[in-house]
Symmetry: C2
């Protein structure tokens, strides 16, 4: 299998952590791929018209997206029910929490594009404030959920550590550790896993 990848992508990081934890990392070839808003990449658009990272190209050539579906696919390859509950009432909570974290990452990327990538003079402060608030209020939600932060590893914890890692990477001074001390403890605990430690984004 091949995975289109960039060390800066929190979505690709999520898949990488999952693949390591599921024991599948040796079966995946990482394909370095550069995408940026407002910049064409016609070669990659042939694979994924959304021009987003990551996609998984399965051994039969099927292109699997998005990062959540890729984790579902890998989870099934590993036997099923490892990182996403296969049944039971907790399943909808896990899926919904993951959707929330996915949306928080989307908003953080929009916020970064607005502040750092969009040409000077075209910034709309209310837009970036709105999207930052979505991520920030989402963190507040998880700060209060001791069970989510302490249970055995799952897709929610992996996505949450990717949110926090992306905050460190692109919003260095946002102060999430001070505002959310439970998330700080959680993040430190997660960093004791080699999968999480090795995939921390490089210094910006």
């Amino acid at each position: 299998m091949k995975l289109t990848y960039s060390p800066a992508s929190p979505f690709a990081r999520k898949v990488r952590i999952a693949a390591i934890e599921l024991g599948l990392i040796d079966r995946i070839e990482f394909v370095p791929t550069a995408v940026a808003p407002a910049k064409p990449n016609d070669e990659y658009a042939q694979i994924n018209p959304l021009k987003k990272l990551p996609v998984l190209i399965a051994d039969n050539g099927d292109v699997i997206l998005d990062s959540y579906v890729i984790v579902e696919y890998l989870d099934e390859l590993a036997g099923g029910g490892k990182l996403i509950p296969a049944s039971g009432p907790t399943r909808w909570k896990v899926k919904s929490d993951h959707s929330l974290l996915q949306g928080m990452l989307d908003s953080m990327l929009l916020c970064r594009y607005e502040r750092m990538v969009r040409p000077q003079g075209l910034q709309w402060q209310a837009w970036s404030d709105d999207h930052w608030n979505r991520a920030w209020q989402g963190m507040a939600r998880f700060e209060q959920q001791a069970d989510v932060l302490s249970r055995p590893l799952d897709i929610v914890q992996i996505a949450l550590v990717c949110v926090l890692g992306y905050a460190d990477f692109r919003f260095t001074d946002c102060g999430w550790r001070k505002a959310y001390p439970n998330l700080d403890v959680f993040n430190e605990k997660m960093l004791s896993r080699p999968s999480v430690k090795i995939s921390v984004p490089p210094p910006a």
Copy 2:
């Protein structure tokens, strides 16, 4: 169950069509909800920090998001495997095609916000061109897939008709019917379903 809803939201439309097709619409109360970029809605942010439509509030109070997870939940309530294959190799193609359509809708919304909602003078043409191209190239992908357009109803067809309906609603002159005649035939066929017809967005 309650569903936060706006007739203008293509994501909420997708859930509405699915609920009708699954025979569950009478169990869902629609809760009109207004969200807009760069405008706070503190009441709704308590329910969904992402401030996005729709979410489903289950009878036990659980908040289920996003629109795809809601459809999965409703599909299971209806017996499972109705709109999303429960197993088999086609499942990953269906999930991946749906992710592509979901991303196309995200890009179309970003494009609309850029052109119509952002204050005059702050537009970045390359950004809206990029996002429009993602949707447009995604349509091209489906134009060529006769099997997707003709098989029994599933989540991919529902999401695709929501993409096309949103193009009619917000990008009136984009010319998708001329560029993609197979999608035009597909869309007309889908409109013969009451679920699709009744949920067409109102004139803008």
